[in-house]
Amino acid sequence: MSTLITSPSRAVIIAVFFVLLAGFPQLNQDFYTELVTRVMIMSIFAISLDLLLGYTGLISFGHAGWFGMGAYVFALLGTKYQLTSNLWLTLPAAMLVTAFFSFLVGLFVLRTRGMFFIMVTLAFAQIFYFLFHDVKALGGSSDGMNLRGKPTTAIGNWVPFELTDTNTLYYFVMVLMAALLLFMALLLRSPFGRALQGIRENEHRMEAIGFPVFRYKLAAFTISGAFAGLAGYLFAILNSSVNPEMLSWHQSADGLLMLILGGMGQLWGGVIGAFTFMLLQEVLSTFTKQWHLWLGIAIVLIVLFLPGGMISIFERIKGIWKRRFA
């Protein structure tokens, strides 16, 4: 457990995944490159939620609030108030603002548990939804806002790269996703990460053996909020628009669905879940106009029969393989 990569076969799979991912844009299919960029951004969103859900055991139904907030920070800075469009200023700003507000909301909501916590997180996300929907100063409009353009990466006179290029944006997002995965892997084996998992496993005993559980939860809530803000920021850049629906509970539910599809508390669950969910959506919507119906049915069936997600299928196959060939 003390190494990052748990087995050589895992290392190979991860390497192959990144090779494929890195090679993909070279096919120069802009539509698909953008699609995969979108999926990677949703992976970041799902991974940030996993820190809370899979590792600390907190079911937040308001995670989209941070996602949308990160997007709107860019919209307000770059388009509405035209203060700056610089990547190196707006990206940290998006994360700091979402971190700040998730800290504040965390102070409120982390005193509750169970069903109450689920509902209260939803309600707070709704507050932000309505703020961005109704308040003119915050871009208030049910149609959202179109953005003036992608952020510039200029530092003085030097422009390292242009995010207006589809492939460049793709690689930028890919690097961020990989960095987040690395960060998570390190975090989870650190004392802090172990404590979070201990809280998920037995919160009462963690308190009893001397851990200030509230503080740990608050830290996890804040960090996960900041990364959701990052995902939202990237999403705004990709679409060159923002919309209050980014903060809707449907978006929060999508995050939860990705994790139950991919597997929670498993580092790669967010990535697997995001890819699977997007795939599912694409496939269903090409076949039928009523794809929501089939998605709903799929969700019901998965929850009833496969609550461990896709990863549990892998585990089962691995188990069968071992028994057959051991």
């Binding site: 457990m1 172990r194 963690m206 851990f211």
Partner: protein, 254 residues
Amino acid sequence: MNTNLLMQTVDLCRTFGGLAANDRVNISLRRGEVHALLGPNGAGKSTLINLLSGDIRATSGQVIYRGDDITSLSPHERSLIGIGRSYQKTNIFPGFTVTENCRLAAQSREPRSGHIFSDAAAWSLYREAVDDALTHVGLADVADRRAGELSHGQQRQLELAIVLATRPDVLLLDEPLAGMGHEESLRMIELLRGLVASHAILLVEHDMDAVFSIANMLTVMVNGRVLMTGTPEQVRASQEVQEAYLGSEETHHG
């Protein structure tokens, strides 16, 4: 001031609705002493141990630790100052290995939460505390097993190992022998005997043989009140206690 007096309560009360689960309870815990809490079901023993560990808030009265009033401290704050508690209903981390269970407990003493890039399992600081605790309770050979897969007796041992890994001065033990067989109970009692000199121990236990073999101080509770506090001889000789309790709640081994 008696420096062996680690913990005491002053007229500690806890009411639930109209019911006084603990009514003006006074008890003292000293280092080098095993202080057993006796009483029939509903006497208030669980409530008292919960009040001492901080799992329940007192309605009135005080809990004093090393001369300081700790009545308002939360369970985690109490753990950090040296009060450790084990639970009657096994309260471990079933999904983690035995080692990880103890390691987490040891980590609470040195949280190092800022070190987000280092591997918690690699730290010698934690490793030593884990080895100590596991060797002490006799679980060293199952260190790598998932805690949920241990036998009941082993889980009770782990329950104690977790507490020991937090290096407490006061041990609040809630039925440590619960569900254990004869052999296991004897081993546990020997283990506890080894801890007496360096800790103040409060023991809630239904196994009378165990209690009388190890306790040097007894408090008998009935209906939320302390009926009497004294040495085993004094308690055994007391008429009141005979009538109220002994003879109906005994369990014997062998």
